[in-house]
Amino acid sequence: MSPYRVIRQGVTSLGTHKLRTFFMLSGTMVGIAALVVIMAIGEATERRVMQRVNNFGPTAMMLIPGGGRDLPPPDPNVTTLMPDDAEAIREQVDGLTVVSPMVRQMAVTLRYKGNQFQAGVFGIRSNWHAAWNWEASEGTGITEQDVATLSRVCVLGQTVKRELFGDTAPLQERIYVGKIGFTVKGVLEERGVSPGGGDMDARVVIPITTAMRRVFNMEHLSMIRILTDDLELLPEQTRAIRTLIRERHHIRRPEEDDFRIVTPMGIAEMVRGISGTLSALLTALAGLSLVVGGIVLMNILLISVTERRKEIGLRRAVGARRRDILLQFLTESLSVSLLGMFIGGLVGWGVTKLLVRTTSIAATLAWEPFALGAVCALLVGLLFGLQPARRAAKLHPVEALR
């Protein structure tokens, strides 16, 4: 018998036993649907992680004062990180493109005419713009000239511009940072959410020298931003910087660091938090329901083999080979699981859309869950179909006919 005819036979027999087919379908269908929904939610989380990491800078490191294993913010009470440390890193660690020291103060009151707003104020060098890949969209950024002359100029973040100026043009206007007057020389591009979940656009940047001597009266740095040439070198460079700073701060074992180095990997881990483990666990549980669905499929197929002994015997008697019987039952199980995959994929897609529309759960559909679903369905069909099919093929024609 031609394989084509055998396959057709398998599919036809599914059509005639609708109820049985439906039950065989249901397990695979529910499992795949659950898999699609859960993976879509996991994908959304992962995208958020990637977006935050990109905002931080995939090739960046940040050296911040204050020990411990926590991630930012920097500890404002630790005053040991000095401008000389930044110089030393730039000179002694290879393969770094930018070393940008900065000072900052949170929640400084800014005033422009009647408007008031509290924002972070950052004292920066001109290479800060390159270090964060963050240029001025209007006017110009901070230059080395501004830093050298301690000039009172500032560049505003978008949120600050909106809060202080509304729709009016901010350039060359005079605002107060704390009690000191500054001239607005530019506005930064929009940046969005920081890795910690704050608004990155609620900030003002001013020259670092002006900040340290005229505004905050501080000698120490709040952080050093470092960019590397090569992502491969990042772990090694992190180690080199750590050794260097420990030495410069006279920290001997077993004393702990009085600084931390934040890496993109650290940021990803922080944003991902428990959700990584959770989504792996949920995917595994959805996979488990697929296995249970497979067991159900196998069980029904086994019953169907017993029920159709006569039919099998007859077909063997009129010339069907064992291979044909095997193929017929495998076709049944495979087409059922593939159909289950198809319907399950559709249901999963629908549920995901519904979730996004009606709840605050973020979910992103990509091709991966569908591909994985297809592979799983094939595996389930083959794995759980094989045993019943072999059992059917092994039946002795004479005995089966009786």
């Binding site: 329901s289 249970v292 067991i295």
Partner: protein, 405 residues
């Protein structure tokens, strides 16, 4: 027909179809087992978190200087705030009727040195009331007296981890060591407290009198927190409100936001419990999907077996069995399938839940009401998924059934 005879008949039929029975049971067992594991892991997490919150103290309220923001899942202070003073603690004790005890607290990370040992350690400065509020009990030696505090005496009480790190097995009582550059005398060692809710060791701490810490170690006139003990569990919320009003008045905050934040143990417990429960519910319901798939499997097998046994049913009806007898027989079959699966699943689940803490640190609680509930639930599923096939079997016309194939 008697129930026991029905039972015997059903079990004999199930045994006759070993493979079919086994597969149905496995499907059910996997579903029930995963639900059981998830539930016990959830309860374990809940118990661990609640225990660590209770370990912090009885009826505890913590007032922190500055607003804390939750960043990356932990509470953090955003800036140094110098407005919370020891006199605030005194005022809270005097003017808030729902407050039983109050102790100002300062902390700083310092290096402790003894002999060759150099260890970084958290130094906590607090009054004698602080020990009572935080449930910190002394294992050997004594607590510092208020007089020692007033005289700014350099005496220290060590928590067990700090003591063993610094002294490496030697008896610490009566010895002198240095915190930073300042010499201290060890006068006591506390009982161990274990980890806090964030998994940080609470025993890597050295306690010194508040005044000594403020004057000799940190040189600050302000404190970071005030530990408060409410007069009773039911007074926690009242105490929080009183403290807020008092501090706003004392700090002259008219219209401005609080320059302190208050953590109340009751709300903390409630919030943590909610989080864990929501998580357990989410994971549990995904685990429940396999349970439903397994149940549908039983439904399918029962339906197919009704069809297979149409003649048998017809024969039994002809010989005097009533509709109800047929229905009961099939119901018993499906319930037996489901509850056997449930029992196996629960045993497997308990086994894994028991092994989990031994292999990793995911704590699990095996609570017998939950186990019983799960088994009962699986039997109920058997009834639910068996009802339709059983009714279908019961309503077969005897004549047509006998005539079938």
């Amino acid at each position: 027909m008697k129930f026991s005879r029905n039972l015997r008949l059903s079990s004999r039929i199930l045994m006759a179809h070993k493979l079919r029975t086994m597969l149905s049971v496995i499907g059910m067992a996997v579903g029930i087992g995963s639900v059981a594991i998830v539930v016990s892991a959830g309860q374990g997490t809940e118990r661990r978190i609640l225990q660590s919150i209770r370990n912090m103290g009885t009826n505890l309220i913590v007032v922190n200087a500055g607003q804390t923001r939750i960043m990356a899942g932990r509470k953090r202070q955003t800036a140094t705030v110098t407005t919370l003073l020891p006199s605030d603690a005194k005022a809270i004790l005097e003017h808030c009727p729902s407050v039983a005890l109050a102790s100002p607290v300062v902390t700083k990370k310092l290096t402790a040195r003894w002999g060759a040992g150099v260890v970084p350690v958290e130094v906590v400065g607090m009054t004698a009331e602080g020990y009572v509020i935080r449930n910190t009990t002394i294992a050997s030696g004594r607590v510092s007296t208020p007089e020692e505090g007033r005289a700014k005496r350099r005496v220290a009480v060590l928590a067990p981890t700090a003591a063993s790190n610094l002294y490496d097995g030697n008896d610490p009582i009566g010895t002198r060591f240095r915190l930073g550059r300042v010499p201290f005398e060890t006068i006591g060692v506390t009982e161990p407290k274990g980890m806090d809710a964030n998994g940080v060791d609470q025993d890597d701490v050295i306690y010194v009198p508040l005044e000594t810490a403020m004057r000799r170690l940190m040189n600050v006139p302000y404190v970071q927190s005030i530990y408060v003990q409410a007069a009773g569990v039911d007074k926690l919320d009242a105490a929080e409100a009183e403290i807020r009003e008092l501090l706003r008045q004392r700090h002259r905050l008219y219209g401005r936001p609080d320059d302190f934040s208050i953590q109340n143990q009751a709300t903390l417990i409630e919030a943590e419990r909610e989080t864990v429960r929501a998580m357990t519910l989410l994971v549990g319901s995904v685990a429940g999907i396999s349970l439903i798939v397994g149940g549908v499997g039983i439904l399918a097998v029962m339906l197919l077996s009704v069809r297979e046994r149409t003649r048998e049913i017809g024969l039994r009806r002809a010989l005097g069995a009533r509709c109800k007898d047929i229905q009961n027989q099939f119901l018993i079959e499906s319930t037996m399938l489901a509850s056997t699966g449930g029992a196996i699943g629960v045993i497997g689940g308990i086994g894994i839940a028991y092994l989990m803490p031994l292999l990793g640190y995911w704590e699990t609680v095996i609570s017998w009401p939950t186990v019983g509930g799960t088994v009962l639930f699986s039997s109920t599923l058997g009834v639910v998924f068996g009802l339709y096939p059983a009714m279908r079997a019961a309503h077969l016309e005897p004549i047509t059934a006998l005539g079938a194939e």
